[in-house]
């Protein structure tokens, strides 16, 4: 699914964000990426969706070297990904339905396919009844569920989530995690950065820890490993 080899990233000005990072993720895996703030997690994620390029090394996703992609090919590569952020990034002037449908419209999905698919994913995240609501009428957990619906509506093979429960209380976080679990069980690969110790410890999934730009730990059935 994903193979990163000898990745280093030095930002202009000389600060080293990542150094000699090697990661191999199989299809269908659920991987937590943990580590203190500023350790290089963001850089790691930005490379995955090809927002930035590493200084050295290679990244192969689904057999394609994504560093070789031309500017024109990048959008098509991103269609294989579902990206979720801590701050949801919903469009406030569009309804729940429109927010999710938006992701299908902008990759030119035919009209008739959009409605059924959007309703299906809203079902999956349990918000079908709120389809006509606006994001500011929803709780944080509900907003994140919309963001998840939007990320998976185009059936990506790889979901990348950057601290998706960072703004949520523990109960709501668990609701969100259960949705991710369900998505993962349907075969989608998930890579998630998080600071939620309880969740990581309880889920018993693979954990990759990044510190000061280096992978310091990569274990199956791992725990969070930090006090907070």
């Amino acid at each position: 699914m994903l193979l990163m080899s000898n990745i280093s990233k030095v930002y202009p000005g000389g600060s080293v964000a990542l150094e000699d990072v090697n990661v191999h993720i199989e299809p269908g895996e659920f991987v937590f990426v943990v580590g203190p703030s500023g350790a290089g997690k963001s850089t790691f994620f930005k490379m995955l969706f090809r927002e930035i390029k590493p200084t050295t090394g290679s990244i192969v996703v689904n057999g394609v070297d994504i560093l070789e992609l031309t500017d024109k090919e990048i959008p098509y590569y991103r269609r294989q990904l579902g990206i979720i952020f801590q701050d949801y990034r919903l469009l406030p002037d569009r309804t729940v339905y429109e927010n999710v449908a938006f992701a299908m419209q902008v990759i030119e999905t035919p009209h008739r396919k959009i409605k059924r698919r959007v309703m299906n994913v809203l079902d999956l995240v349990g918000l079908r009844k709120r389809a006509d609501a606006y994001p500011n009428e929803l709780s944080g957990g509900e907003q994140q569920r919309i963001a998840i619906a939007r990320a998976i509506v185009n059936e990506p093979q790889l979901v990348i989530a950057d601290e998706p429960t960072g703004n949520l209380d523990p109960d709501t976080s668990w609701e969100i995690m259960n949705i991710f679990k369900e998505i993962n069980e349907s075969g989608t690969t998930i890579v998630m950065a998080t600071h939620a110790k309880d969740i990581v410890d309880a889920m018993g999934k693979r954990v990759i820890a990044i510190e000061k730009g280096h992978i310091v730990r990569d274990e199956m059935n791992g725990g969070y490993g930090y006090e907070f």
Binding site: P75, L81, R89, Q105, E108
Partner: protein, 295 residues
């Protein structure tokens, strides 16, 4: 491009223009004013050019023969003129015909001629037409050197001044066009920049879910083109109305001025303004998006 995509573009463009009501209005006004000035200038230029051409085509060399020239001399001179490069037409005007023409021109003031008695003061002459106005000077000088030719003259100063004027207008026009195009471009790209800024969240999400650059660009391009187009419409309406009014004024008071008639001139000017307005709108959007899409 599928139907739903087109529908999406049109909806987005409409929403955006409404949301930026004031800036949209300002852009349309700026485009309108710029194109109005441009259009007026174009009309002035085209009319001056037309006037110059009219006068140029009327300008001919008048060749006056000496009194003692014989019919044989006249024929020799006519032949020599006809053989000169650039000469289009040579018409012999016998002295009788010249007098007759003069009488016609005097109209009801025939008594002025009476003082001349029976004498005909007009010499035999030739009217010479040249195929391009630039050659007039040389041809005229050459004719003047022929034997038995008294003098060869043409409306030198008027032609040269008109030439000078069209040159200045052409030069000034190019500068004006560049200046106005840049100002319009600046205003439109600024408006679109505001639109893009207002919608940066959408653009970011579009990029993350894999919308192509052109898909992201289209609604903004359409917005710019729409603003340019409406500005051009406003300018066209004003130009069409004022030129029509101006034309009837001139016909009433300065009838001798050869003005270009409204059709087809205004069709061309209107088409030009619509194309220019829409094009500038598209270009303005494109410029302001270029930076934004480089992520």
């Amino acid at each position: 491009m599928s139907f739903s995509t087109k529908e999406y573009f049109i909806k987005e463009t409409y929403k955006s223009i409404r949301r930026n009501g004031f800036m949209s209005f300002a852009s349309i006004s700026t485009v309108a004013v710029s194109l109005l000035v441009l259009g007026m200038f174009l009309l002035i230029f085209l009319n001056t050019n037309h006037l110059a051409q009219q006068l140029e085509s009327q300008v001919q060399i008048s060749v006056y023969m000496q009194d003692n020239a014989t019919t044989q001399d006249n024929m020799t001179v006519e032949k020599a003129i006809k053989n000169m490069p650039g000469v289009q037409k040579v018409t012999f005007v016998p002295k009788d015909a010249a007098l007759k023409k003069f009488k016609e021109r005097l109209g009801d003031q025939q008594q002025l001629l009476d003082s001349l008695g029976k004498d005909n003061p007009f010499p035999n002459s030739f009217d010479v037409k040249v195929d391009s106005p630039e050659k007039i000077k040389k041809v005229s000088a050459d004719i003047g050197k022929l034997p038995k030719v008294e003098t060869a003259k043409f409306g030198q100063e008027v032609v040269e001044q008109l030439f000078q004027l069209t040159k200045i207008l052409r030069f000034g026009g190019i500068i004006l066009v560049i200046f106005l195009a840049m100002a319009t471009l600046f205003i439109i790209s600024n408006t679109i920049r505001l639109t893009v800024f207002a919608r940066r969240k959408e653009v970011i999400i579009m990029r993350y879910v894999g919308a192509t650059d052109w898909f992201i660009r289209w609604p903004f391009m359409l917005e710019g083109m729409t603003l340019g187009f409406f500005g051009a419409i406003v300018a066209s309406i004003i130009i069409n109305l004022t030129y029509g009014a101006l034309l009837s004024r001139i016909h009433a008071t300065l009838a001798f001025l050869p003005m270009l008639s409204a059709t087809p001139l205004l069709y061309y000017v209107t088409a030009f303004m619509l194309v220019a307005g829409t094009g500038i709108g598209a270009l303005g959007s494109f410029i302001s998006l270029r930076k934004f899409l480089k992520v």
